[in-house]
């Protein structure tokens, strides 16, 4: 199988502090890699590097063989960070129309309408986003991320503070994305949800990748197993 994402001995420094240390990771096309780790471990930094939002000092990163800032790499990836990435003063329709237009889609109206329907916002499509509830904003953010059917999805703690409807929607979208062959990298604290979707796991601690490999049945049965086996914090006293 082709490698969709490759990190090769990546080092990232913030001043003297090494946020990522010698990280090497290969994510196969069509797989779903859950980036696990505690707060400050380096998961967000790693995802931001993959999304081309942060530069790094040493090593190499490619998405489908291209650098993350290359147009082809950005065209084929969808990023959902900590912020929802939509405009409060525009309506859901205007937001989706804008994001669809910059991704080069044609037939914007039909695409926008179908996604509004899909995430259950068609009825309030013309209302400014600032009047939306938190759950509605989250669903709009999901539509914004998936609207151009990206081949690579980079999701930073996507389950955090989602309501149950949005969690169900995200799980459905991720399953569909995998069925069409998309590659997913998601960071999370929610071990159970992440492990249920993931085909592979990468455990980050203090900027180092402590473990990378396939997700096993043992991990599903005991989500804390990885931490116990592979992190210093998990070592029994």
């Amino acid at each position: 199988m082709n490698r969709a994402i490759e990190l090769n001995q990546v080092w990232k420094f913030y001043g003297d502090y090494a946020a990522l240390r010698d990280c090497t990771l290969a994510v196969q096309q069509g797989s779903c890699c859950a980036l696990l780790g505690r707060n400050g471990a380096g998961k967000t930094t790693l995802l931001r590097i993959l999304a081309g939002l942060t530069t790094f000092q040493r090593g190499g990163v490619t998405l489908f063989g291209e650098k993350p800032r290359a147009e082809k790499a950005r065209r084929e990836s969808g990023f959902l960070g900590h912020g929802i990435g939509v405009y409060e003063d525009l309506s859901a329709r205007e937001n989706l129309h804008f994001f669809a237009s910059i991704t080069g889609n044609t037939n914007l109206r039909a695409l926008t309408d179908s996604w509004l329907e899909r995430v259950g916002l068609a009825r309030v499509a013309t209302m400014p986003v600032r009047q939306y509830s938190r759950g509605m904003r989250q669903r709009l953010a999901l539509a914004r991320t998936f609207i151009h059917s990206p081949k690579i999805l980079l999701l930073d703690e996507p389950f955090t503070s989602l309501d149950d409807r949005a969690i169900a929607m995200l799980s459905e979208l991720l399953t569909e994305a995998r069925q069409r062959g998309a590659t997913i990298v998601l960071s999370t604290h929610q071990l159970r949800e992440a492990l249920a979707i993931a085909s592979h796991v990468a455990l980050v601690e203090n900027g180092k990748l402590r473990y990378t490999g396939e997700r096993t049945q043992e991990m599903l049965d005991d989500p804390a197993l990885l931490y116990r086996l592979h992190t210093e914090l998990g070592t029994p006293q």
């Binding site: 081309g52 950005r74 990023f79 990435g85 939509v86 405009y87 525009l90 237009s101 910059i102 151009h148």
Partner: protein
């Protein structure tokens, strides 16, 4: 073509937000009117010398008001981490900066139109008789300051003192555009032929091209990290 299409999409989005919120236009427009009003007390209305100071007065007002517009350009992308979303999207950084410049251009032109009306009332200027040349001068000069505003708006977007830093950085760089714009505006106000001042038109054209190419080339470096 893709760059132009994306830039227009960014500008349309920014203008749609601005039409709804009127944050920049209200601030810049009212600022421009108040300054013109204050200047009207300092300089005698319907004065013969208006042709000597009018261009300078107008362009000072425009660049001060412009700073209010330029500051909002990229600041608009900060809530909800929209800037990160755009940078990670297929939108090129150059299209983002040029799109912002298009929006700056449209907003600043609107402020300029209102200011010209007010200036015309205070100083008895018939703008319609010089509209052709004035339109050309204003279009060229406004694009120059708009693209600079967009580039340095991107550079200062994450600074805590960006409202202060942006004018401090861009005003010195605007000097060639401003001198040309002031000279040409005074020429138009005095009903002298602009064809005799073509070197200033050339300064504006060259400045516009240089600033636009720099924005295109440096956008990604400026915006990422």
């Amino acid at each position: 073509m893709n760059l132009l299409r994306q830039s227009v999409a960014v500008a349309r989005k920014d203008l749609a937000i601005e039409i709804r919120t009127k944050e920049s236009l209200n601030a810049a427009g009212s600022f421009a009117i108040v300054i013109l009003l204050i200047f009207s007390f300092a300089f005698e209305s319907f004065s013969d010398e208006m042709g000597e100071f009018g261009g300078g007065l107008l362009w000072l007002v425009f660049v001060f008001a412009g700073a209010l517009v330029f500051n909002r350009g990229f600041a608009r992308e900060l809530p909800n981490e929209c800037l990160d979303t755009l940078l990670a999207s297929p939108l090129s950084a150059a299209a983002l900066v040029i799109g912002k410049a298009f929006a700056n251009f449209a907003m600043l032109l609107a402020v300029e139109l209102v200011s010209l009306l007010v200036f015309g009332i205070f100083y008895g200027v018939d703008w319609l008789s010089v509209a052709g040349w004035l339109g050309l001068v204003f279009a060229l000069a406004t694009w120059g300051v708009s693209i600079l505003g967009a580039v340095f708006g991107a550079l200062t977007v994450n600074l805590r003192l960006r409202e202060l830093m942006l004018p401090v950085i861009i005003y010195p760089l605007m000097i060639p555009v401003l001198i040309a714009a002031i000279e040409l505006t005074n020429t138009v106000l005095n009903h002298r032929p602009v064809s005799g001042q073509m070197e200033w038109i050339r300064v504006l054209v060259v400045s516009d091209i240089v600033f636009t190419v720099l924005a295109w080339v440096l956008a990604d470096t400026i915006l990422v990290n």
